[in-house]
Amino acid sequence: MGAHISIPMYQRAVPQRYRLVGQRCLKCGKVNFPPKAVCKYCNAGFEFEEVTLSGRGTVYSYTIIAGGGAPPEFAEQAHCQGSYPVVVVELEEGPRVIAQLVDPPPAGITIGMPVRAVFRKIYEEEGVIRYGFKFRPA
């Protein structure tokens, strides 16, 4: 069990994982992603309109997870790839988000590098493939 993401929990966030659905605060106009009950920018707005993010952004920071240390649900991926990069991306609408980077440039990842979101398999557990966004160089 432990840090297990149950299927119902995964399903509740499908709009975020499949289509990057965020929310624009009706009070301050800024875009929250992932969604919050109260806007994280003005800490006051609690009414929002849905907004689908473009998926375009730049690398804000990065790491490379070594194969041996990957979480168990990513063990297969780590075994195949040896290691994989994880990045924090600053999206053009403002929010930052954490995800994997696919097809990293041979010269290495750099902060500020433009990227765009792609839809990928994340992992399989309990017989259900969890899909979601990753990023790739733009």
């Binding site: 432990g2 840090a3 992932p34 790491t63 490379i64 979480p71 994880v86």
Partner: protein
């Protein structure tokens, strides 16, 4: 508000103890604490207990660990509760025990922490430990706990010119300190070359940048300051205690080269104590990864933001420096039994301020004020404490 004093403290050795479960670890620290109360104490006077723990003994006892432990040591009816903020569970146990004494409702309150991490296979352990952050996003990105701190380190290197060597300087310093600490998990100094060339974990970290998995427990007894000298000739006063939180996910934070939870907790503690960072003689800070100690220097006011690595270059935070940090060896080398860590820091400071550091070589001399700093996960929570030597 009533004043708060520490009148006793105990701690197990940190390490790997296959023959000891969570009850045995707790009892060992508790009994050492009782013996440290030099004027004696009837344990039945203890009125409440706050116990920090994350995994509840590798998961066997999901609920009500606190009464289980108290019943084991002959205090079955005490008001006992578990408090949990991941790696800051012990710090929040100490914080809430201090609030309970400060309220005047209780005179004698136990603050404790315990973690039995080595009872499960490392694959299951990785499930338990997760990212200590926002599981739903950080874990689904394939990140580990090390990966989250690594993201902070990479950004810090980019913004402030931190080098790989600076990270390793933290590891070298803390391993050197642990070598002299009989209660530390790793009692072995390492070279800078070793520290820079360990097995990769998450760029820019290698294995020497990461704290280990550890079994251990620590227990501290708090007392209303007005009654402290009934129990000991050398109380240590808790002059300030602060606690705060932050967005759990690092992607939600405005900056990842500082921990806002630490800054807010430190401001509260300094204000309550009526002193500032320059008054601190030594500190135990939360170095779960090497970058964490570097972030702590500025967050606690020991230097300006982005200048922490110069403190390392100048040797200021070495044991013989102007402001020794992690004389115990820190989480990095003393060990990091998650729930125990915050109380284990208080144990170290209690012993140091009373002149009782176990080996003369590691005794910090003429110290009056000390600080401890305990962080939950990647900075989702933090607690900061300021201690004053009582024998003056």
């Amino acid at each position: 508000m009533e004043g708060v004093a520490i009148i006793g403290a105990g701690q197990t050795r940190y390490g790997d103890f296959p023959t000891k479960g969570v009850k045995e670890l707790f009892a060992e620290a508790y009994l050492e604490m009782l013996q440290s109360v030099d004027r004696g104490l009837d344990p039945q006077m203890i009125q409440a207990a706050y116990i920090g723990c994350l995994s509840a003994g590798s998961g066997f006892q999901l609920g009500q660990l606190a009464p289980l432990l108290m019943g084991h040591v002959g205090l079955p009816h005490v008001n006992a509760v578990r408090v949990e903020n991941a790696c800051a569970s012990g710090g929040f146990a100490l914080y809430n025990a201090a609030c309970a004494v400060a309220s005047g409702k209780f005179d004698l309150v136990l603050a404790a922490g315990v973690e039995k991490m080595r009872d499960i296979s490392s694959s299951k352990g990785r499930y338990w430990l997760g990212v200590s952050g926002d599981t739903e996003y950080e874990r689904l990105a394939g990140s580990t706990f090390a990966g989250i701190y690594a993201l902070m380190a990479t950004r810090y290197m980019h913004e402030y010119g931190l080098k790989r060597e600076h990270l390793s300087m933290v590891a070298v310093k803390n391993h050197r300190n642990a070598a002299a600490n009989p209660k530390a998990q790793f009692r072995k100094a390492i070279t800078l070359e070793q520290a820079m060339n360990g097995v990769p974990v998450a760029y820019p970290f290698n294995i020497w940048d990461c704290s280990p998995t550890t079994d251990g427990a620590a227990v501290v007894l708090l007392c209303n300051a007005r009654r402290a000298r009934d129990f000991t000739s050398r109380p240590v006063y808790l002059r300030g205690f602060g606690a705060a939180s932050d967005y759990l996910a690092i992607h939600d934070r405005s900056s990842i080269t500082r921990l806002n939870a630490t800054r807010k907790a430190a401001a509260e503690a300094y204000k309550q104590a009526g002193i500032g960072p320059r008054d601190i003689d030594f500190a135990e800070v939360h170095d779960c990864f090497t970058i964490a100690e570097i972030l702590a220097y500025a967050d606690l006011g020991f230097c300006e933001e982005g200048r922490a690595h110069y403190l390392l270059e100048e040797g200021i935070t070495q044991l013989d420096g102007k402001l020794p940090v992690n004389a115990s060896g820190g989480l990095k080398a003393k060990g990091h039994p998650i729930g125990a860590t915050g109380c284990g820091m208080a144990y170290e400071i209690f012993r140091q301020l009373r002149g009782e550091a176990a080996e003369p070589v590691r005794q910090i001399k003429n110290a009056r004020f000390a600080l401890s700093h305990n962080v939950g996960g990647s900075g989702g929570t933090a607690a900061v404490f300021i201690y004053q030597r009582g024998d003056e």
